[in-house]
């Protein structure tokens, strides 16, 4: 790390401590410390464009924005040394959409550098700390990579926070901090202005203490209907309408619903008390009349491998632009013979985890490894998506209806009737296999062990499906709630959020 970087980091910390002595408010926090390092200190910028026109239905609310989403009022630096205090000349579509709906931005939130991490520890600003941890205990992970956003909501600094979810980066911190984290269907919310980590997986996610503010923003104000011409992966209007017609807007009574328990998600590493919360949630739903059935998603086992090939591959490509010519600090060397312009810049500017993933991705895209890694991972991604399409009652509106051959399914798949195995409306699973680990523990773990944390969230990301994590506290004696995840068919977001709301209320009683 260069001296300049160290200096800046030190400065950041001091400034933060001097300016942010706000009280945490009503939350039952047992910590004396007033900050969890969840906001990124930055000087306010002079916006280049006028604020968006307020809509007639705008209601004021406080919005925290993850630091990989561009804002005109604040720099955008993705918790990376290489972006310095990058002043974006434009504002992300999602930020403008929310501002026109009454959002005022309270700050940019800390995160894992470029969204790469599961604990918000890989940041040039230092790790985010979990506010739910006991004061006398060591620092605990707030989850990542949108850890700062989750904490901002958890401690009441913001009503809603924007995060990004590539493989679980909204759901995981939501689970760890006891709030709601929603990852919409891929292509629903605009990514224009989101600094990409892995474009084909990146989604903008929303975090709040309850489901309602999220549901209201996305559906009541029509966010889900808005196509962004600046984002080539934003679904076009016609497609949105077609998809919406394929999914009912209303959640029927629970007695009309079938909810699947994916058996592959019951992994050995699952914390017994989290398993208890999962079972309790399923039982509660069953008691309300829902039909609970086990389902099989056989490709799940390969999902994590596929994710950790595809995401770093795209990352290695996306991050190639930070080369010191336009972005990133320049080293003293040029590109003359014997000098290295790019490696010095990139070596100094990126953190260890980002470098690790760039190397991983560079390798899996290299001509000798491409076929064995990248192409295979793409195939697995297809299989995972087919797995989901097979178990959901609703057809995936993006594809022609598919027939599934029984011979393609594993032999132990239970058949519902002569039509084939049972199909479900939603899938229910835990969000994370364990409770938030201590930061000191994470440091001891190998990176592969850390990647394991994403095992339950990456399948929905690979398939582009909507998923939401809600906090469920079964074991009252336990310090942390468990995160319970619901997954739905593509574009079935509205019913998904309605069910999430029900689950949360059901489990609070």
């Amino acid at each position: 790390m260069t001296a300049a970087l160290v200096r800046r980091r030190a400065l950041t910390f001091t400034r933060w401590n001097a300016n942010h002595n706000r009280s945490i408010g009503q939350l039952p926090l047992r910590r004396s410390q007033s900050t969890f390092n969840h906001f990124v200190a930055s000087t306010k910028l002079q916006p280049v464009s006028p604020p968006p026109q307020l809509r007639s239905d705008a209601k004021p609310f406080r919005l925290a924005v993850k630091d990989n989403i561009t804002t005109e009022e604040f720099p955008t630096q993705c918790a990376s040394g290489i972006l310095g205090q990058h002043a974006s000349p434009f504002e992300a579509t999602i930020v403008r959409q929310l501002r026109s709906r009454g959002a005022s931005i309270v700050g940019k939130t800390n995160m894992d550098e470029f969204g790469m991490g599961s604990h918000s520890t890989h940041s040039v600003h230092g790790p985010v700390r979990n506010p739910l941890a006991a004061t006398d205990e060591e620092d605990v992970s707030a989850g990542g990579s949108s850890g700062g956003s989750a904490v901002a909501v958890a401690v009441g600094d913001a009503d809603v926070a924007l995060g990004t979810d590539t493989g679980g980066s909204v759901r995981l911190p939501a689970a760890y901090t006891g709030i709601v984290g929603y990852k919409p269907s891929y292509g629903m919310l605009s990514r224009f202005g989101v600094v990409p980590y892995a474009n084909s997986l990146d989604t903008v996610g929303l975090l709040a203490r309850d489901v309602e503010p999220i549901r209201s923003l996305v559906f009541d104000t029509g966010l889900y209907e808005e196509h962004d011409p600046n984002d080539p992966t934003s679904l076009r209007l016609e497609t949105r309408q077609r998809c919406s017609q394929a999914c009912s807007p209303n959640l029927p009574d629970l007695s009309q619903l079938t909810i699947g328990i994916p058996v592959e998600y019951n992994i050995a590493e699952l914390d017994p008390s989290i398993r208890d919360a999962w079972v309790a949630t399923a039982s509660a739903l069953e008691s309300q009349g829902a039909r609970i059935v086990p389902v099989s998603l056989p490709s799940t086992k390969e999902a994590l491998c596929a994710y950790y090939i595809l995401a770093p591959a795209e990352a290695s490509s996306n991050l190639a632009k930070y080369d010191g010519v336009r972005y990133g600090i320049r080293g003293s060397e040029g590109d003359a013979a014997g000098e290295t312009l790019y490696s010095e810049t990139r070596g100094a500017g990126f953190g260890a985890e980002v470098k690790r993933r760039i190397l991983l991705g560079t390798y899996s895209l290299s001509s000798e490894a491409m076929d064995n890694y990248f192409i295979q991972a793409q195939r697995i991604r297809r299989l995972i998506q087919r797995d989901f399409d097979r178990v959901f009652k609703l057809d995936n509106p993006l594809y022609e209806p598919r027939q599934f051959d029984l011979s393609e399914m594993s032999s132990d798949t239970a058949l519902e009737d002569k039509q084939g195995p049972v199909q479900v409306d939603f899938l229910l699973s835990p969000t994370a296999p364990t409770y938030p680990p201590k930061l000191s523990e994470i440091q001891k773990r190998s990176s592969v062990d850390v990647y394991m944390n994403d095992v339950l969230t990456v399948p929905a990301s690979l398939a582009g499906l909507p998923a939401v994590s809600v906090p469920v506290k079964v074991d009252r004696s336990h310090q942390f709630p468990a995160g319970i995840q619901l997954i739905a068919q593509y574009w079935d977001d509205r019913r998904l959020l309605a069910l999430a709301d029900k689950v949360m209320k059901l489990m609070m009683d």
């Binding site: 989403i69 561009t70 955008t76 993705c78 972006l83 990058h86 974006s88 000349p89 434009f90 992300a92 990514r191 224009f192 202005g193 989101v194 600094v195 990409p196 892995a198 474009n199 084909s200 011409p229 600046n230 984002d231 080539p232 992966t233 591959a313 795209e314 290695s316 490509s317 991050l319 190639a320 632009k321 080369d323 010519v325 336009r326 972005y327 040029g334 590109d335 003359a336 790019y342 560079t362 895209l365 290299s366 001509s367 491409m370 990248f374």
Partner: protein, 622 residues
């Protein structure tokens, strides 16, 4: 059909950089030095695609050198190096077969960039047309501009390619300062056009060894982005102009099916002409809008395995001549290496205009692995068959078809036909058609002619004047009054020499109402704007009508011219060594002796010739 010999034509086409300063603007035209290909000009305004500024600077220094001087220099060089080989001989190397594959990058004629709505521009202020995505601003995304497909598909159709209903965009990764995102978006795995071919004909100037024609397969055509322009400054400073970044290019990749250096050069030139004709690519090599990379390998002709040798790639060839020269140099280097028992390393090499050898740029170990990856932000490119159909039917007439018509129907020489097609971006040939149509209607209206004469007889006259006499107008001979270059509209109109005037003039000339000399003077007067009442009035008022002397008077003049030339007349005795020069001397003498303005040189020549035949007792039959 009158055809030039292959040798003459090809040396003309490739070596005949007769006008270094733009055949397009019609300068320096004379009957002897007809410039044909705009691309033959020396690269004085190079604009490399993906290139280092060093090469551009070196090439730019080459500048303008008169042909004669250049030929002399070349001869001198050859002598110094003890090489007696002349160009024509270097197409083959005994015992070896050369194989060449070519990649051509051409800028598409579009108003917007490939993935951003920023305008494409040529000489605008640096960094004045740059969208967020063009500079890879974090959070920006590519927006495919579908209009760029039109010229791209036209190009692919002109190259007889199959347009793929679905193609995709991939990222090609490498670090270079002119590439802001660290990768170029191209079509590596699934290009939009495949399996094309073009046929090169003898008249295009291919190597004699390739015979009448050779067909070169086009493996694929892909869409991709151009890079930023580097503006080298003093010291080690470089400035970057992002106006060019993201400008759409097509890359045309051939099968390795070319075996002679000249044919490779002709291929590049023909591609340039084709792309220009179908309006896919408007700027040629001379402005940097087109650039070629060649892959060269050699193998022994008696090698039974028939396996291609290891190839090397020569990058960034920016003139047609460089293509041929670099291939010859690289072939000879490879042969020399192999004959000395060495091996060829698969590497990238460079070529500087005017040099004798290719130079190593980077070896295999220095090659970057481009790590091609499908671009996750870009949807597959789906091209509807209706669009392809429409573009196919509206495709401009390809040069070969038009050339055939000009040669076969109108009787022009292949050389003149080529000139007509290429001059003024195709406007000159349109002018030709306009003048011809008017001339035809004048001939039809002629009461003395029962039926229209053979089209070739007046079309060649028109062609000759439109190329050569028109070209002469803008040379220094026109004096200080000359208004500069002739300019033509795209439809072939020329305000300086209206088609009505020229056709009127040609009509009288064709009908022998006026002499060629008078016609030329009238043409100059038209051009200088000196005729107020039009051609006819000028002839009338100045009494320029051609009143030809009688046949008897011609005979008498021939007799008079021959007088006292006995010694010269003896030289006509041997029919096999007919001294044409001497004949023309005698004709000239006839013209001087008689009333010049009333003598038709052609009739004088005919009369003189017959007179000599009779003199030698060979009679009328000869």
């Amino acid at each position: 059909m009158s055809r030039r010999s292959l040798g003459e034509l090809s040396s003309y086409l490739l070596e005949g950089r007769l006008s270094q300063r733009g055949c397009i603007n019609g300068r320096r035209l004379s009957s002897r030095t007809v410039p044909i290909w705009p691309c033959l000009r020396l690269p004085y305004a190079l604009r490399h695609l993906h290139t280092q500024p060093v090469a551009a600077a070196a090439a730019a220094a080459a500048g303008h050198v008169p042909l004669r001087k250049q030929l002399k220099e070349q001869a001198k060089q050859a002598k110094k190096q003890g090489k007696k080989k002349v160009k024509g001989d270097s197409q083959t190397a005994d015992g070896w077969e050369l194989t060449v594959g070519i990649e051509i990058h051409a800028q598409l004629n579009t108003s917007r960039k490939l993935f951003s709505p920023a305008a494409t521009s040529f000489n605008d202020d640096p960094n004045s047309h740059v969208a967020l995505f063009d500079v890879a601003m974090p959070g920006s995304q590519p927006l495919f501009q579908k209009e760029t497909l039109i010229p791209a598909i036209r190009a692919a159709l002109a190259l007889n390619c199959e347009i793929q209903p679905v193609s995709r965009f991939d990222r090609k990764h490498y670090f270079w300062w002119d590439q802001p995102s660290g990768y170029q978006i191209t079509q590596f795995y699934e290009p939009f056009a495949k399996k094309g071919h073009i046929t090169l004909l003898a008249r295009d100037g291919i190597a004699a060894e390739d015979g009448e024609s050779v067909t070169v397969g086009i493996k694929q055509v892909q869409l991709e982005q151009d890079t930023a322009k580097t503006l080298a400054q003093a010291g080690s400073v470089h400035w970057l102009d992002f106006n060019r970044v993201g400008v759409p290019l097509i890359e045309i990749i051939t099968e390795p099916e070319i075996h002679h250096p000249r044919t490779a050069a002709v291929f590049v030139r023909k591609i340039q002409l084709l792309l220009n004709t179908v309006d896919s690519c408007v700027s040629g090599m001379e402005t940097g809008g087109l650039r070629a990379d060649v892959n060269v390998s050699v193998r022994r002709t008696d090698d039974p395995s028939k396996k291609l040798g290891t190839r090397t790639e020569i990058k960034n060839l920016s003139t047609i001549k460089a293509v041929e020269d670099a291939i010859i140099a690289e072939r000879d280097r490879q042969i020399q290496q192999l004959e000395a028992g060495g091996l060829i390393a698969g590497e990238t090499r460079g070529w500087t205009v005017g040099s004798k050898e290719t130079r190593r740029l980077r070896g295999k170990e220095g090659e970057v692995d481009y790590r091609y990856m499908p671009d996750p932000d870009l949807a597959p490119l789906v091209i509807g068959s209706d669009l392809v159909q429409h573009l196919q039917t509206s495709l401009a007439v390809l040069p070969d078809t038009e050339l055939d018509k000009l040669v076969d129907h109108y009787g022009l020489t292949a050389k003149d036909a080529l000139s007509l097609i290429t001059l003024d971006n195709g406007a000159r040939v349109q002018y030709f058609y306009r003048v011809l149509a008017l001339l035809e209607s004048k001939l039809q209206a002629e009461p003395d002619i029962a039926e229209l004469p053979e089209v070739k007889s007046y079309a060649t006259l028109a062609g000759n004047w439109i190329l050569h006499e028109l070209g002469r107008l803008t040379t220094y001979k026109a004096g200080p009054l000359a208004s500069g270059d002739l300019s033509f509209t795209q439809l072939g109109e020329c305000a300086q020499v209206p088609e009505e005037d020229l056709s009127q003039l040609l009509y009288h000339l064709y009908r022998k109402h006026i002499t060629g000399k008078v016609a030329k003077e009238l043409l100059m007067a038209v051009y200088l704007g000196e005729l107020e009442g039009g051609i006819l009035e000028a002839i009338e008022s100045n009494d320029l009508w051609f009143k030809e002397i009688s046949q008897q008077e011609y005979e008498a003049l021939a007799e008079a011219a021959a007088e006292g030339e006995d010694k010269m007349l003896e030289e006509f005795a041997d029919e096999d060594k007919y001294p044409r020069g001497k004949l023309m001397y005698l004709v000239g003498k006839m013209m001087r002796l008689g009333p010049t303005e009333r003598i038709d040189p052609a009739t004088a020549e005919k009369t003189m010739k017959l007179w000599i035949e009779r003199y030698h007792g060979r009679g009328e039959a000869a």
